[in-house]
Symmetry: C2
Subunit: 247 residues, 2 copies
């Protein structure tokens, strides 16, 4: 099993993902929000790259079932949308049994970019250990994709990648590691194990705190509070009910 990590969601050729499991991370905040929404009963999350794609999809889907438009630009809710990108907006009373169309600056973009992978898992600190267990169980080569910030490295995503790899190695020490994975582990050695402290000092955390999202930053640094892994299939992200067994 080979493990590789993309520090930003850039690929010379999307075909590189074929035959692999892609693990998409956007700790602050898209994947944290997706995991939260699904654990609070949302039916599915559909990531789209642009606001222009979100509206016609919303108009089409709402004819058949309850749908919410969610997303941010510059950390703030998009005009006319029901929800922003703060995980605290995705409570059970708001999202249960609903489809959520989500467009965010970074995370939704990387979810769209990994479409060629054989399997796509959604990860954050919230479910990192279960992601690692799932990856070891399915045994494919792994491409961890850090969403970063507008094609720029973000420490919190790579730290989360390092933590997932650390958990994989505890179960499967023979895994082959790329240069970028070695670096993610180095980051974990330096900034772990207090993830909340590390996340709160990252560049994007500073921006979120300045925009009154301090509670989000604290929540996004919590580890292993969920024991399931959302999966993206045909651009629909869901939790299987028998998640602990299959994913």
């Amino acid at each position: 099993m080979k493990i590789d990590c993309r520090l930003v969601p850039a690929f010379a050729d999307a075909k590189e993902l074929r035959g692999k499991t892609a693990v998409v991370i956007d700790v602050l905040r898209a994947t944290t929000t997706i995991i939260t929404a699904l654990n609070n009963g949302a039916r599915q999350v559909i990531p789209v790259a642009t606001v222009a794609e979100a509206w016609p999809l919303y108009n089409e889907l709402k004819e058949h079932s309850p749908v919410l438009l969610a997303g941010e630009r510059d950390t703030k809710i998009i005009p006319g949308f029901h929800l922003g990108n703060s995980p605290f907006e995705f409570q059970r009373e708001t999202v249960a049994d609903k489809t959520i169309i989500l467009t965010t600056t970074n995370g939704a973009q990387s979810l769209v970019r990994v479409a060629e992978a054989d399997e796509i898992l959604i990860a954050a600190f919230l479910n990192a250990r279960t992601v690692a267990q799932t990856l070891v169980r399915n045994g494919r080569d792994i491409e961890i994709v850090c969403s970063g910030s507008e094609m720029h490295f973000s420490l919190e995503d790579t730290l989360c990648a390092g933590y997932i790899v650390h958990e994989i190695l505890a179960l499967f020490p023979e895994a082959e590691l790329s240069d970028s994975v070695r670096m993610a582990l180095l980051l974990l050695k330096e900034y772990g194990p207090d993830m909340q402290k590390a996340v709160s000092r990252c560049e994007h955390a500073t921006v979120l705190i300045a925009n009154d999202f301090s509670a989000d930053v604290v929540y996004c640094g919590m580890t292993n509070i969920f024991h399931n892994v959302p999966v993206s299939r045909q651009n629909s992200i869901t939790l299987n009910n028998n998640n602990n067994n299959n994913y």
Copy 2:
């Protein structure tokens, strides 16, 4: 002075480089080769992204002055070209007073991508300290661009970025550092100060060694053997004669 580092040459928007000095690094081997060629008397190096662009430019320029076509794909010389991308091919007797058109898989691509920067410097371990001195002297915000490997992180480029930042901080400790720069410094702490050993263990070094370029790998890890900095202007890379004063 703010210092930032791109771990692969991907930009959400090329305009982000305006007003900044871009420092392009491709230790294995494009920037090492460019620095070597110019120090061996080459008149200029013109980077181009594709082989298809190299040929018509060659046919045009050779009417006026001596020109060599250089470059690689998959580490090997391109059919019909005069030179590959090994620095040892760029000896004085071969390159003096000549224009070199260079196309490589990674370094030449990132040189083309940073065209919007106010100033573009060419760096590798060979001239890292002088690059740092130049950056402190000119005082602009800095975007260090690691060429990586086909949009993938490469340890040797980021290690070189960390070393340049370390040298900057010795002269100008107040510089503001981004998350990616903090990470590059962490890499230096882990793998420095023996750059040759660190470079020889990187992923791309393994590929070069398997293709009989072991001597290149050793040479590319040598630090501060040149005390000048090539500059790219209108896509022509040159050494100023009064380089130690101005660049």
